[in-house]
Amino acid sequence: MSVQVSASGAPGGGMVRPVGIVTDIATVARRSVRSLLREPEAMAPALIIPTFFFIVNIGALESFVERTPGIDYRAFQIPVAIIFAVTGISRASVLVIDIQTGYLSRMLVTPVRRSTLLVGMMVADIVLAAALSLVVIAMGFVFGVRFGTGLLGILVFLALAVAWSLSFTGFPYTVALRTGNPAAVNSSFLIFFPFAFLTPAYVPRDLMTGWMQTVAAWNPVTYLLEAMRSLLSEGWDASSLGKGIAAIAGLGAVTFTMAFRSLARRVATG
């Protein structure tokens, strides 16, 4: 066979152009957000669980905890509801299916920048975390919760929630990339429990027993909760906010390092 071949002889010859990193991220994110919108039912647990705990906690503990002067327990519980809503959500379950079906390989034979395969999914995580947080904030308003820091406070509150959610996604992504196993990814949800409950989720730290106080002092979620609560009830408190941001950044540094190292290992050709 002697067919003349040239770059322009092929069906789309000469069309391929270098792609910027932002375009790669946008391409991957477009797909991730689209698949997110196609499974709204997957959001249900992320809304039912925080709503359930919010109502049950208030019903059980509001009058008890409010014996301590200066605590608005509904405002106290809204950050907890947000943490319950956004901690552990990720597109890791999609990533692990991509690995299993070979769709990840299909993308890897294109010139796409490897890191954007993860970053693009995280864009969808940000969209979902923001949407869930807004719903929980709206629920707070319905229950009479108000922000002492006004609209800007709400925006910072939202930003903290989304940043926290994002920093936590590193765990499930790491598990997905390391194992390629959907069951393992589902199990990675378990790490949520110590992070969420070994904290002043129910009562302020000074009301907790000694050992629990010590554990909570080492849990980044403690500082996140306190930063978010400060926006609701105390006004602008640079110290609380600073610690909250540091907690998110610290955890994010660890989980992102794990996740992107795992990605590098997964796509390594060696």
Binding site: V5, P11, M15, V16, V109, T269
Partner: protein, 355 residues
């Protein structure tokens, strides 16, 4: 091609020298040399686990060779993977597509990953939609597609950016005969009309025979034969006599057959012996007489033209078709027709006397 200067092999779409890939102590690919000319359909034929897919993964830049060198479309797969990636299209096994997206969205995503401009993207997607030829289903979610539809969309997606070299890893495995014939037609058309070089792995002898300009037979990570299907078959001899025998008669029959005049080669198989000869019609009688004189009684003697399976048998000492005979039997039993030969224009290697 402007890249030719880099390899000094202007007409080669793919070249590999001493390609090795080990996994632990297993040498999955064990010193493969390849030269695929631009514009040809190259069949890479071998049983499961022979090293076909591992070779493809190395050529597609998804796996680094443990040793050896390979270049595709004029660029080294290890030192310039990015240059290789923009010049190749790849449809890996299993037609991997995201079930939550529609066919059109898959094509669009693919076009964006290659940086096609909006205008090029629209034109390429339109062309790819034509190529996939699945009608309005192109706007339905992949999860509603049949296996054949998935393959077609997968193939169209792999061509969206106009690659010079197309890798197809077992493109028809698991497809029904009609879908398989459609994929074959498509591969021929792409090659003929667009000049795309096709590197195709297959475990189906009839597929390699029907499609490929040249074939490499790989077994145990090594290439054991290479050439055009007709050359390879000619090398076996003009005719093949297949003698179906009881197990205990195989060894003595091989010895007896080897003494018959004008017998070129005798190969033992699990179900009998295969004799290569220049004139089957004349020799078959002598073979029958010689066996009978030695007290050996074949269940059947069949004269036919050689198949690629005969080439495989001569090169490796066993038949490829025997390896997947249990799968075939299973398919026959369930009526799924997994390996139905209706779509195969060439003679298949299955002995006529097989029950």
């Amino acid at each position: 091609m402007p890249e030719a200067a880099q390899t000094g092999s202007g007409d080669l779409a793919i070249s590999a020298r001493g390609l090795v890939r080990t996994f632990g102590s297993k040498r999955a690919v064990d010193g493969v040399d390849l030269e695929v000319n631009s514009g040809e359909i190259y069949g890479f034929l071998g049983p499961n686990g022979a090293g076909k897919s591992t070779t493809v993964l190395m050529l597609c830049t998804l796996l680094k060779p443990t040793a050896g060198q390979a270049s595709v479309a004029g660029h080294d797969v290890v030192s310039s993977p990015g240059e290789v990636r923009i010049r190749i299209g790849v449809a890996l096994q299993e037609a991997a597509l995201d079930e939550r997206q529609t066919g059109r969205e898959i094509l669009d995503l693919q076009a964006r990953l290659y940086g096609l401009s909006a205008a090029d993207r629209a034109a390429s997607i339109a062309r790819a939609v034509d190529l996939a030829d699945i009608g309005e289903a192109i706007d339905a979610r992949i999860k509603t597609y049949s296996g054949g539809m998935r393959r077609r969309v997968d193939l169209a997606a792999s061509l969206i950016h106009g690659p010079e070299v197309l890798f197809l890893d077992e493109p028809t495995t698991g497809l029904d005969p009609v879908s398989r014939a459609q994929v074959w037609d498509e591969v021929r058309r792409l090659n003929r009309e667009l000049g795309v070089t096709v590197f195709l792995t297959t475990q189906y002898l009839e597929e390699a025979d029907a499609l490929a300009d040249r074939v490499a037979i790989i077994d145990g990570g090594r290439i054991v034969e290479q050439g055009s299907p007709s050359e390879l078959k000619r090398a076996v001899g003009a005719d093949v006599i297949v003698v179906d025998l009881p197990a205990e008669a195989i060894a003595p029959a091989a010895e007896v057959a080897g003494t018959v005049p004008r017998v070129d080669a005798v190969t033992r198989g699990r179900r009998g012996i295969t004799i290569a000869t220049a004139d089957g019609a004349a020799v078959v009688g002598s073979v029958a007489v010689a066996l009978s004189a030695a007290g050996l009684h074949p269940r059947s003697l069949t004269v036919r033209t050689p198949s690629l399976d005969d080439v495989f048998l001569l090169a490796t000492g066993y038949r490829m078709s025997a390896l997947d005979s249990s799968a075939e039997d299973g398919a026959a039993a369930t009526g799924s027709g997994l390996q139905a030969s209706g779509a195969a224009p060439a003679a298949t290697a299955r002995e006529g006397s097989r029950s």
